[in-house]
Symmetry: C2
Subunit: 454 residues, 2 copies
């Protein structure tokens, strides 16, 4: 589709020309013919005055579809909202699905929000206000309230009438939820099974009561896991007392899976990946905070080496292995960190105790440390013809790796228990910190062996 | 849902008891009542003899559903296939969707495959053979041939008859594809728009001809991007001459997005994340190859430090800053690597030239290097009261960071151009290699400044 993407760019230039020459009908015809995603990409490329021209050419409904398609976690459109006339803006929010409207409105301050609410349909305001109460990154914050519901003692044909009537509004009609009179969730029917059934069959005979559902406060990673494991297109969200509140759809889950992976990856690299296409100055501004902060942590290591100056001047051979030990321990620490972060974000480790996780990582550290230590012991003893030096470096390597593995798991697991995102612990941080402990371990052990060295 | 997960485990124990006591009807009733995902998890937990008992209690169709649900990239079930009677096994493959059957059969050798094919329905064998021709990680390898197709001059009601007839077999019925008499793809209609239309409307009046489709050889990351951007549930796959070949569905794309993120992350950490729940010995076995390989690369750095022994003995103060410079350059290199890998896997960088990518990263390196170099110049000059020492360390830091940034982008971009997966270049590899260049740069620059130091 490479050539089609090229044409899209040409089409954008053409559209921009039509917009600027105020060629209304030609613009509308070409523009509305495009997929909503392309429309929203076009919208985001416009200048201030072009955007104002666009608002005058599109209905609130057409504009709302564009807003639906923008990923507000990546692009902040709140400044744009201020340029839109209040009547037009509130009409846009009235047309949007409630979950997306709530997502944008959360980003405004109370006063701005209230002024939009006063112009909106009251029933939409109530629903949006309810959605805004749910914590970020929970099922509640992902769900939409626009789903199709039927009751158990309906026939298939009457259910199909309900579906046809709500098809325009509903986020998906491919799952139909069966509720009792108290709005409690009883089960689900796929549209597939409805259309292959006879008109006069009762819903109660078709309903699947083994329904997979989530609590409104369930964290979003857990919700994503249900989609992945059970190959779902939508998942119902219920309150503590099984009241049907809304549904989460698979398109929102793709964004969640993407964001979660991105955040783990960003953490490991010690650089925020939100927007990788930036100019060198923007990129540098993103990377420097970590680099400079770690530089000062590294100064700690430097002054530790300085502190052990007496030792290095007695046996200058010691200086040779500093970077080897810090580097290898740093690598081991990074591996341990990465595995721990991934474990925490992928699995239900809630059931496993803090200590069993840490113990497993210490054990892994002991095994890798022992084998790496033995290897370097053999290499150094042979290279420098000094078994005691080999022993000092080998034992130091063994201890440094074990400690680095411990730190690599202890820090993310600890942060997770304290309620922080474990992905914030970065790879560069772990390896810089392990430099410090490795140098300390190395010189402490070398101090014991000093009379056999040089 | 934590308590439900617990019950699942209890249910598993109960099921296992029913299976072992050969309580056929009770077992079938309880087992088949569970979601396919849970059935497949149960299957994977069984012992050899329990699996044999299971085969005798389930029909090939029931067993095929279980096979459909297993992720063959993560779990190798080919050994299990050998324990299954050939007639039963070929019946299972006949019941499976062709894409999943092809996925498993690719893993067998030619002889094994042929013996299964001889017992299968010829039309299924032809389709599976066709699917097996497509390269891994392309649209062709992800697609299934079970989609719903109608022609343009049909009415809605006759299209609904086609849909009802194929609903059992098709992977999804929520998108209906409109083909001409030569099987060329003309457009798509959603089931949603079909069920809200009158029975006698013509398909040609409803069809959306601005269809998003992919070529059968399109790489899977690109396919995943269409799903993400356009919020699709399924995407048609066509040949070079627009012949409709199959569809890719969103559940397979979730696995692709997951796998891609996992592989980028594994690369950055220098450890394969395929299975994070292993015992310490298995974990150590996974991590040691990288650690030991990098240990020998690190020995290069150590012998370089050894080589510059004359310099350190003249000015022992130089030893203090080795780990600071190698550590900081390693951090910068890791950031650069991470951004480059992500850029390559997220975006169409095909259009950007090799050199513009590398140049951008060098520019970022120059900016971060200059600021970090100035910082360390100020700190060292002040700490050691020696401006020339500060200058030596600062200039070395500047050069080391620029080189590390260059390496961090050059290696993944180069691997990508040569057709390798850029994610294979690991963070620990970049930081260990940058240790070597940093030490070389540091001592070379210190050599110039040597008469002002000590």
């Amino acid at each position: 589709m490479t050539d089609e993407i090229l044409t899209t760019q040409e089409v954008f230039a053409n559209l921009q020309k039509l917009l600027n020459t105020n060629n209304i009908s030609a613009f509308r015809e070409t523009f509305l013919d495009h997929h909503i995603y392309d429309q929203s990409q076009f919208y985001l490329e416009l200048t201030d005055s072009e955007r104002l021209a666009l608002y005058s050419l599109l209905s609130p409904e057409e504009m709302s579809a564009i807003f639906e398609n923008i990923d507000f976690d990546e692009i902040d459109i709140t400044p744009y909202l201020k340029e839109i006339l209040p009547e037009y803006l509130s009409a846009i929010f009235d047309e949007m699905s409630t979950d997306n409207a709530a997502d944008i409105l959360t980003k405004l301050n109370k006063r701005e929000r209230r002024s939009i609410f006063t112009l909106m349909a009251p029933e939409n305001v109530t629903e949006i206000r309810n959605l805004m109460h749910y914590d970020e990154e929970t099922a509640g914050s992902l769900m939409t309230t626009e789903f199709v519901a039927v009751v158990a003692n309906q026939t298939v044909s009457s259910a199909m009438t309900v579906i046809r009537a709500t098809a325009e509004e509903a986020e998906t009609i491919y799952y139909v939820y069966v509720l009792d009179n108290d709005k409690q969730l009883l089960g689900v029917i796929s549209l597939r099974s409805l259309i292959i059934s006879h008109d006069d069959v009762l819903i109660s005979d078709l309903v699947n009561e083994h329904i997979i559902k989530v609590d409104v406060e369930e964290p979003q990673e857990r919700v994503a896991r249900y989609f992945r494991d059970y190959d779902l297109l939508a998942l119902p969200v219920v309150s503590h007392d099984n009241l049907m509140l809304g549904i989460v759809t698979v398109d929102d889950i793709i964004d969640v899976i993407d964001d979660e992976a991105q955040s783990d990856y960003s953490g490991l690299a010690g650089v925020n990946m939100d927007n990788v296409n930036q100019n060198p100055f923007q990129s540098a501004a993103k990377r420097l905070p970590w680099l400079i902060a770690l530089l000062f942590l590294g100064m700690g290591t430097a002054s530790l080496v300085d502190h052990f100056d007496g030792l290095t001047s007695k046996a200058s051979v010691l200086a040779i292995f500093i970077s080897l030990i810090t580097g290898t321990a740093g690598n081991a620490g990074t591996q341990s960190l990465a595995v721990s972060v991934r474990r925490l974000s992928l699995n239900d480790e809630q059931n496993k105790s803090f200590f069993s996780l840490i113990l497993a990582e210490i054990a892994t550290g002991l095994v890798t440390g022992a084998i790496t230590g033995l290897t370097i012991f053999a290499v150094v003893s042979f290279w420098k013809g000094n078994i005691m030096l080999g022993l000092a470096v080998g034992v130091a390597m063994f201890c440094a790796i074990t400690v680095a593995n411990l730190a690599g798991s202890l820090i993310p697991v600890g942060m997770d228990r304290l309620g922080f995102d474990p992905a914030v612990a970065s790879g560069p941080f772990i390896s810089t910190m392990s430099d410090l402990t490795s140098v300390f371990i190395y010189f402490s052990i070398a101090g014991i062996f000093i009379r056999f060295l040089s």
